[in-house]
Amino acid sequence: MAKDSDSTRRLYSILVPTYNERLNIALLCYLLFKTLNDLDVDFEVIVIDDASPDGTQDVVRQLQRVYGEDKILLRPRAAKLGLGTAYVHGLKHASGDYIVIMDADLSHHPKYLPSFIRKQLETKADIVTGTRYLEGGGVHGWDLRRKLTSRGANVLAHTLLWPHVSDLTGSFRLYRKPVLEDLVKACVSKGYVFQMEMIVRATRKGYTIAEVPITFVDRVYGTSKLGGTEIVQYLKGLLWLFFTT
């Protein structure tokens, strides 16, 4: 708990896994620096790029020239290796005691970071997770089918798992570093299930979780996918968590 005292300034490490996000990563960095410089907090952005063929890493290097190599860290990997290991990789290079994870595709807006940080300071929670389904939150850009799938998935997960968290598959979260290190070791799922597994295992391990409302704008540039394969994968993951947590 000593880490919570404000006598030493806290450092926030923001982990952003990317794959072909050349434009989005630049836009995201601009918005991150704009928000966090106003807030006067210490932070670093760690970009974990899985060998994007579109030159994402070139753009990050140009951003480093503008914002500084101590502020934007490029920690690439040799191939597309999955989300869980991306966080493990990023954590190795993170100097902060608090880790933010967010998507690079602008569906998570940096303007909510101050409310994550404030909530954590108020509640001393181990995890602050963004939720789309509480007052003040919301989604933009989903058709009826996407909404129906999301609500169905949510009701099913709540009936089977009793997770005490309103938004299980959201991936905009603030963690204490040791908590994220512990969880990421325990989690094996992929895709949508990974974020659900992280938060369900966190509740089972007794970590404290606070929620803040966020809005989610489905990706503007690029495509997001939710097909039959993802749904089957989700159902399998749900059962896996039902039997193993």
């Binding site: 630049a26 609500r151 949510n154 039997f243």
Partner: protein
Amino acid sequence: MKQVFKFFGVVGTLIATWIALLLSPELSPAFRLVVPYLPVYALVALGCYGLGMVGYGLMVFPTCPEEGVLLQKDIDEAKAFLKQKGIDVATQ
């Protein structure tokens, strides 16, 4: 305790209560008529609850079209900044 045990603990308790009711001798005849079908009612009720929750969730689904507009403004601002700094973000 694993979730699967908690879950079937609740289910088991319900089934045990039902069997106790089935076997109890001092039930009124009207009640005795209903008891054998209680599991069917329970399943139907669970299904209705599920469908009801999905339907209600859809009805009150929080949307934020204004956020789409705000994000577009932020994107334009960011693009102007990147252009000014000479960062090339054009995608092929």
